[in-house]
Symmetry: C2
Subunit: 230 residues, 2 copies
């Protein structure tokens, strides 16, 4: 066996069967949580652990463009909830007939019920102006920030903590409310807390808003459009 092959084998044995299972379990059981939040506080230590997991996402040119605003104050949450209310009223009107009726029955956020809210931001100027790998695709800093959000989401799931991503706001209003500087982009607003339940499937799938796509229909071979069910 060559040295390379020996190394490759040891890489393959790095994750035990149950460690691997944990990764897929977090991926498949993660939900966008809007209800079932419990008021039970999250310890500073555990929150730090989740934020550190987010902080260990990859980032373009290792720029680490993210920051995290941790909101616990009822007053700030209520202000955010008002922004949501305004944007949601406008959004409702976009849908028509039974779809509008279904939309208005959906609970789309748990801002007040979740003990912690976290706003994840992206600073495109951090470690700039020239960021390795960002010259041709300018928004790769936003992409990196989303990878950090997903790390947070999965680590939280493994800890029994629900996370709900709320995107129904005017981002400028949110920026002003949270004193976020003009050049920094609020990417995600997360409601975070222990929950009594994770739904077995996504809420919008359960209520029939949209079906899960078949993976076969969205995988192509070599070029777009060369369908091959793999």
């Amino acid at each position: 066996m060559t040295e390379n092959e020996r190394r490759r084998r040891s890489v393959l044995q790095e994750f035990s069967r149950s460690e691997k299972r944990g990764v897929y379990k977090a991926i498949y059981r993660r939900r966008d949580v809007r209800e079932h939040f419990s008021p039970q506080p999250i310890s500073d230590r555990l929150l730090h652990k989740l934020l550190d997991a987010a902080h260990h996402a990859g980032s373009v040119g290792f720029m680490q463009p993210w920051s995290f605003i941790v909101i616990r104050s009822q007053e700030v949450k209520e202000q955010v909830k008002k922004l949501f209310g305004r944007a949601n009223d406008a959004a409702t009107k976009v849908f028509e007939g039974p779809r509008r009726e279904l939309y208005s029955r959906l609970k789309l956020e748990g801002i007040l019920e979740a003990p912690i809210n976290v706003c994840v931001t992206c600073d495109p100027t951090r470690n700039g102006p020239h960021v390795l790998g960002r010259h041709t695709i300018r928004q790769t800093d936003l992409y990196s920030t989303c990878c950090a959000v997903q790390n947070f989401w999965l680590a939280a799931r493994a800890e029994g903590i629900g996370v709900g991503w709320v995107s129904v706001f005017d981002p400028d209003e949110l920026q002003t409310l949270l004193w976020i500087p003009g050049h920094v982009i609020p990417v995600a607003y997360l409601c975070v807390g222990y929950v009594s339940e994770f739904l077995s499937r996504p809420q919008l799938e359960i209520v029939g808003w949209l079906p899960r796509l078949s993976l076969d229909d969205i995988v192509f071979d070599e070029h777009w459009g060369d369908k091959n069910a793999k």
Copy 2:
């Protein structure tokens, strides 16, 4: 104990200690891989498993905007590599002095060495035009696609498979090359393969391109700027 509390406790016991460890291990040991790829093929079954993990990311309004182009052909890879070469030559010139010298020594992609390349795209028109939750922040479909990429990356890590995200291309050239329709956005180009080694820390940290930020410096309380080391 109330029914809610019983449920909450059972949620907390859902992940065993080693399943939890697996999640953090994947998060902390994931690397943006550009070298040490092995030609060993990845089975269709395993690739399907990784793509299905990506497909189970959350998406705004459950729109599932992603598609995956799986590239195995040496010819297509060589064409992509040419696009990289052109964009990389231009990028090198942006840096000056020792930084340019360091940049030009870095290996930033493993397009030809990785047995599989995967281009992950986002179709903003899918399940549209009105996507639940996307009215105020238009690019949430891109954000969802990045969450799918992170799922793929972490599942691959647990399987001993390295993934490198290459962003040094003109995206329009990549779009044409892979026959991607004009309205669909190529978000990520991933080099995927078994590896003989995962670096202990990110490549750009090891070579001194940039240091890891302290988490304390990027976490705020209640509003941007209210520093509190947590």
